[in-house]
Symmetry: C2
Subunit: 362 residues, 2 copies
């Protein structure tokens, strides 16, 4: 089992990564608790919920299963989680465990952050994508006008990552998770980027998965340690997300996965970067790798103006113009304000090219 | 104008108390902001909203008026506040101002704490009661199963207290505010307690009001500085609230004011203290003062068991038994677990006596 400690402003918390550790959870608990509420979703509950329950040497263990997907990050389900916590008699010395992907972590984490003004919680990610969201302390639900608009900075008390649970992921989920790993590599590690460009997502080994996830977590953790509240370098983690989030809102959460749309956002960010800084970035290499690994790169027809309006509603947008994360080279991110006219030109030609390449079969 | 600085874990913030300072707000802002959203309620908006708007030298000022009373601390209104903030284009460099009593401060503060994971906010209390809630960083909304169950610790960036705004308070609101002042005096200042017992709430002078509020704020601030997250001495601030909150939930928010029910809770806490510690507390003195100042001390018939069940849902209750704040003497609070049987005996005879005294005209 690997352990990495993350220093947040309010607390330092451990990240445990290992095979089968969901069964050892009792030894990894950061405290003793009057009650435990495990929150998971309909996809994960059948696979791993019993293992975790059995692993807990605790008399008061409750479970709550939420629907799969972004729909679970609604204010209604947020309220239901509170109802559950109250009716189960959870108090301030209780623990919430988020067992699942990013959606479960975000929803359960925000419930923990706000239940009686904050109780302990543990992230148990069961997807590759969740290596990203489980580290850094962002918890949130969605508003009908945008993703993650209602939330807190609230670090977990521990992250327990059992890589055995990744065996049940489907191909789409693997693609989604690897898009965030590619993002992290682009931000800070050209060597890692080249490693990833040689991965075949259809035949990943356990060792490859463990290595990639650990590298991704280290990058993420080092960035959030420097800037927990996203006033500086943490913004870089939004590489690919300005367009990614807008597309997610427009195409409806759930049809494409988060990471698949971030992948398109990464291509766009690289393209804008090349235009802005006269730099040579691995646009073709990434495009080819995405194509080879069956990332869906064909979007329905959406007007550039509609996308820009949506981008401005994103919480990372300053009031006046869109601020994007760009790359001067692999490992050297920066941020820049892009005015609406430039953005329109870039976005229109980017969407045209995607459509053309899709038509030509890549 | 008086200034007091409060040191919270995450930030130090100033409390300004003075006459007419709602008009000077622009000079008291703790930063510069892209937009300002003033949240107030239907009772306060007609009196002071325009003054605050005019006091702001700011091009993007928005206002939102919520209903009066605890009903405004619903999850629906919480969501509406987010909708307003989003559609007005607030971003992370924006400010929310809570102009009103404790309800406005709690609801607007929780919206600020969770909008894009937290933006700046200022408390502008317009009631005596709000001297308490505006200091200390507790923000929350209600769940149908209990008050303030959904919330955060999120200190304001400043508190701007214009005591001129207290002129529009009705008698019930004055009683409500003074009950919390009495609580603070009981916790830490026998001299202040005796001063309060000589106040006639029907004829308070401006000087008396200013003096009492400043003394209350100092007591509150010194306690929350010691224990922001309520793991220790801050619990003492719940003196009178175990019963007070339960009664509030059972009698319906809004019929009695918060402070009026806390006053009944204070009598009960003193009574239990006398039984537990063989001490002589000013029970008669407080009862007489409450009666003289028209506090409603006659409750509808409620079963002690129903009240105990409600107390256990309160977020301050540990799982097993009720933990109450008690007094060894005025200025010396402590906490103690009261088992259900004892509580039942105390509560039954307390309710009987209240009813008897009400029948006998006090």
């Amino acid at each position: 089992m690997d352990v990495l400690n993350v220093k947040a402003a309010s607390r330092t918390y451990p990240i445990y990564v290992g095979e089968g550790i969901r069964r050892d959870i009792n030894y990894l608990l950061p405290g003793s608790y009057t009650s435990v509420l495990i929150i998971t979703d309909e996809a994960v509950s059948g696979h791993y919920l019993e293992d975790v329950k059995e692993g807990l040497d605790q008399s008061r263990v409750f479970t709550h299963v939420i629907p799969v997907g972004e729909q679970a990050k609604s204010v209604d389900i947020f309220y239901q989680l509170h109802t559950k916590a109250i009716t189960c008699g959870l108090d301030r010395q209780s623990l919430i465990i988020a067992l699942g992907g990013g959606v479960v972590g975000d929803a359960a984490g925000f419930a923990a952050a706000t239940f009686m003004r904050g109780i302990d919680f543990i992230q148990m990610p069961t997807t590759i994508l969740a290596h990203d969201s489980s580290v850094g302390g962002k918890v949130a639900i969605n508003h009908e006008h945008g993703k993650n608009l209602i939330g807190n900075f609230y670090p977990p008390n521990a992250v327990i990552y059992d890589i055995q649970t990744l065996h049940t992921l489907n191909k789409q989920e693997i693609r989604s998770g690897y898009a965030e790993l590619v993002k992290e590599a682009l931000l800070s590690d050209a060597d890692f980027f080249h490693t990833l460009m040689n991965r075949n997502l259809a035949s990943l080994t356990n060792n490859e998965l463990t290595e990639d996830i650990m590298r991704g977590i280290r990058i993420k953790a080092s960035i959030v340690e420097t800037d927990e509240y996203e006033s500086g370098v943490r913004t870089y983690l939004n590489l690919g997300h300005t367009l990614g989030h807008a597309l997610e809102a427009l195409l409806g959460y759930g049809k494409w996965t988060h990471g698949e749309l971030v992948a398109i956002g990464l291509l766009f960010a690289i393209r804008v970067s090349e235009g802005a800084y006269d730099t040579n970035l691995p646009l073709e290499k990434l495009y080819t790798w995405l194509k080879t690994n069956d990332y869906p790169l064909e979007l329905p027809v959406i007007d550039a103006e509609t996308i820009i309006t949506k981008m401005k509603l994103d919480k990372k947008a300053n009031n006046a113009s869109i601020r994007m994360v760009l790359l001067k080279e692999v490992g050297h991110p920066c941020t820049d304000n892009i005015d609406d006219a430039d953005l329109r030109v870039h976005l229109t030609s980017f969407l045209d090219e995607l459509a053309k390449q899709a038509k030509n079969g890549g």
